[in-house]
Symmetry: C2
Subunit: 130 residues, 2 copies
DNA sequence: TTCACCTGCAACCAATCAGTTGCAGGTGAC
DNA sequence: GTCACCTGCAACTGATTGGTTGCAGGTGAA
């Protein structure tokens, strides 16, 4: 599973593209906080067809923000937020030396207490770099 | 100038959407590093029509990442990266307590001197997590 | 074995998007 | 005033996107 990113689009295209849709962001954060879910379950409490949700999840997977594993007859999707580092890297890199505000904001994250940082769920191996 | 964001899309939709296109990202960083430019000039060294560039710049402006000012018969576009704080805010907020890697990356930036936060950036309402 | 349930694939539709071209209207310089 | 140059608007096209529905196929449980 987990479609390979299309050769004509870059990692950042896929990432920003995936995050540009509110439904997709919602699915991503839902997976991030509630752990693995099937598309069927995710579609249940949303006014969306299962197929629509599947397509969104595949878009997330194509960008590396989600991954799927088969468990019996179900397919569970998991958020894989590591890839967001590419977004952060772009922010840092492209901004170079602009005004300080963003660094202050980022500083807050850097200063986060470690107690809160533990991975919310097991981050299984399918994630590998391409 | 600077179209208002459409009422049906949120700030984040517009931001991520604007950044999802490689041409738009290139234009943005170009403006960021080289300073104000006209669409005509920007289109010159790109294999793109002026109108196409104008549309991209308008998309950037709609998301708040660029602004334009009229100077005589020219219109100069300027990058306004402050709005990127909304992206950072989303990263911070939605991620909450994920994996360490990103914090290391962010930590590098956050380690800068004089990091104290004022108001996290005035967000015109609609930004929250959805 | 049978049946219920979940997934995957395909076709299709409407809307949006990226891009083009053509033309009209301002503005500055000579 | 004239002319060159830049911008703005509109129409149009092709591709992509977000969404739907229908149906076939695999899997687990009774």
């Amino acid at each position: 599973m987990n479609r390979a990113p299309s050769p004509t689009s870059t990692v950042l295209d896929d990432l920003f593209g995936a995050l540009a849709d509110p439904t997709r962001r919602a699915l991503f954060t839902r997976l991030l906080h509630d752990g693995p879910q099937t598309a069927t379950v995710l579609a249940a409490d949303r006014a969306l067809s299962r197929q629509a949700v599947v397509k969104h999840l595949q878009a997330l997977a194509a960008s590396g923000l989600a991954s799927s594993e088969r468990v019996g007859r179900e397919v569970r999707y998991v958020a894989t937020p590591e890839r967001l580092t590419a977004v952060v890297a772009w922010l840092v890199e492209s901004s170079g030396q602009w005004d300080r505000r963003i660094e202050r904001l980022l500083g807050r994250v850097g200063a986060m207490p470690e107690a809160q940082i533990d991975a919310p769920h097991q981050q299984r191996g399918t994630v590998g770099p391409e």
